[in-house]
Point group: C2
Chain length 454, copies 2
Amino acid sequence: MNIVATQDLDKATIAARLGHEHVADIVEFLNGKTAEEATELVGHMPLQWAVEVLDQPQFQDACEVIEALPQDKAVALLEGMSADRASDVLRWIEEPSKSRLREALTPETRRGIDHLLTYPDGSAGALMTTEFVSVPSNWTVGQTLAHIREVEHSRETVYAIYVLTPDTKRLVNTVSLRRLIFGAPEAPIGSVANPYAPITVPPTMAQEEVARIISKYDFLAVPVVDSTGHVLGIVTVDDVIDAMIEEQTEDVQRMGGMEAIDAPYLDISFFEMIKKRGGWLCVLFLSEMLTTSAMQVYADELEKAIVLALFIPLVMSSGGNSGSQATSLIIRALALHEVRLRDWWRVALREFPTGLVLGAILGVIGIVRIVVWQEAGIFDYGEHWKLLAVTIGAALVGIVTFGSMAGSLLPFALKRLGFDPASASAPFIATLVDVTGIVIYFSVAWLFLHGTIL
Amino acid sequence: MNIVATQDLDKATIAARLGHEHVADIVEFLNGKTAEEATELVGHMPLQWAVEVLDQPQFQDACEVIEALPQDKAVALLEGMSADRASDVLRWIEEPSKSRLREALTPETRRGIDHLLTYPDGSAGALMTTEFVSVPSNWTVGQTLAHIREVEHSRETVYAIYVLTPDTKRLVNTVSLRRLIFGAPEAPIGSVANPYAPITVPPTMAQEEVARIISKYDFLAVPVVDSTGHVLGIVTVDDVIDAMIEEQTEDVQRMGGMEAIDAPYLDISFFEMIKKRGGWLCVLFLSEMLTTSAMQVYADELEKAIVLALFIPLVMSSGGNSGSQATSLIIRALALHEVRLRDWWRVALREFPTGLVLGAILGVIGIVRIVVWQEAGIFDYGEHWKLLAVTIGAALVGIVTFGSMAGSLLPFALKRLGFDPASASAPFIATLVDVTGIVIYFSVAWLFLHGTIL
């Protein structure tokens, strides 16, 4: 993007130059500036450009800009923005600015925004826009086209048209623009409607679920319908993509064992970062303390056979790794509806032999390692090194099997209890498996080494 | 979906009933059947329905169905399918069926498919469809609309129209259908074109990158253009959503420390599952063996101070957890272009103090734990328990800081070397941090406990 450095030009000139760029590029440029600079630049843009910029969910300083601009300008922008985006911006503005701005809006805009604000963040109701095209079912193709031409500029999408009963305004059908331009002008709108019953979502549906429906049916938009069959709004594919990217980031961060952060890495404050990471880190640390407690129980055994301590990190991490593999598999399979809650026993029946085989593979490698090190004279594992090798091998089978089972079943348990399975993050499973792993390890050791070194 | 159980009806009746459903629901129904049943059902459908079903990337048995159907039927289906989907299906069919089917296609279809097959799986070229609408720049709005009505049924999307120079057929502009229906019929097509230069992608671009561009600009499709400015095809938003879901699954599975699997959990064979998980598990196991080697170095110290062993799992896992947090943050920040390669030092400058503070928090908790257990008489850590507490606290600061630094910088290193940063999966980092953690732990212990219990 050929925009010269800010210091060389006054804001009005830069604002004028920005007009030749795609709005997404303008937003990218503004995101690289401070909130104060962005406010000044947006303030210098013609109203229509400024509205377009603020309409982009990618624009990070929207709330700051709206708060910092003179009230009449801010209100004009909110009036011009799409209702879903305007309510999204107002949602995060603090009082008293929020009420002051809300009061200054026209009653019609205010009603629309208030309505959207009643839906919780992350639901279809909060994601939807109320600016869609609907026509009564007794209209013709020609009437509909004329109507679209008239309202096009104020609608987020015109590619899906919703056909309502003329009297009660309930959704009867959907028409795509590509089919509409095909129809004869005098034909009834129903003649070009989609042949299947309209697929709709309730306003309370979670945005990930809406994304799944849009992607399943290859829709450009899906109508949000209340229990009486009235269309409240529509969720468009571009909003869904943004929601998917957000969800993907949350998934990866949760898998990494932390609270999801909703701002770019370099923008989030130091304190916020410590809070988001420190919380989970402390929870994991406190649960991991159980490993110390477990080992204290076996302190006498350790004293007798210090050689057992050497393999603790190796054996434990194998359980954790197999657990996080199983967890990540099941988290995605549940998210994609490849497996359902009632399939838990089928998963368990698969993970049990899988864990046994994987554990056996690692067990053999572990035994080979001990034999080679001992025979080559690299390290002396003591008189009973053969029994030690068998202990390590058997413990690996047990721990990897337990890890696979626990890792695959925890997401089911979390989902059953109403939590997001993705929050069964890998480190959480690793911690669970670590503690149990120590118990398994020393139990196996006692079994094989009792009477010799134990 | 009200489709009665298969055993009660013959396949022809079921196939006929399926016609009243949305194609995505038919696909979901067929995915629940065996490949043989799906083949029989598709074979009984009218050709147009069967083509629609096979055109869905979500249909899992497409290759099996095409291979199992009589050749004339299979060829008719491939001819009717969109070129990108047909080449995708052919891509995975084994020889000699592949060549036999390819030979039977019309020369025009074969050329189109052969062309798409030259692009590697996962690139814009492989994802694109060649069925788009293009018109010469000297046409009018009316001519273009008439053309769209004529070709609509054979185009994947008509919502984006590509304007080419009449002679050299290079891309000059794009027009959206919503703007087109706005224009006066006699106006030149250029009058309704988008005001900015067309945004295009090269055929070699990775599909994640294409997804990022479509989502950034809120496009319904993006043109794939070669170095001479010719449009090779377009990538549509629904293909991008499918690619994003696939990528999300891969990300989560890689974070879970395994090779990404490309089939539903319950469909993949047992052997395949062992292969995908066992490979990484062995790699991690072999690297984790370094922990045993490291501990063997400190075997004498362990012998003298067995109490040190009790805290090894706790201290090590904290390093791993802080490392996987940092890794997951940076993987996403790099994927979303929030940070770039050259920002590595800014990240390092942030992670260093973050690691110190997080480590200090855990260190304090660790010290409190030892003090409480000792004073309450739950466990006796020996005469020098105060020094031991300081050792644990200091080791945690060092290990958490190292974990944060290593976890945040490894994705940069991988990207710099040309690998996908997402493959710096959390368990991999954990393993790296585990080994280093043991060295840090015993070094700190030597520092504080030398001359007392060591």
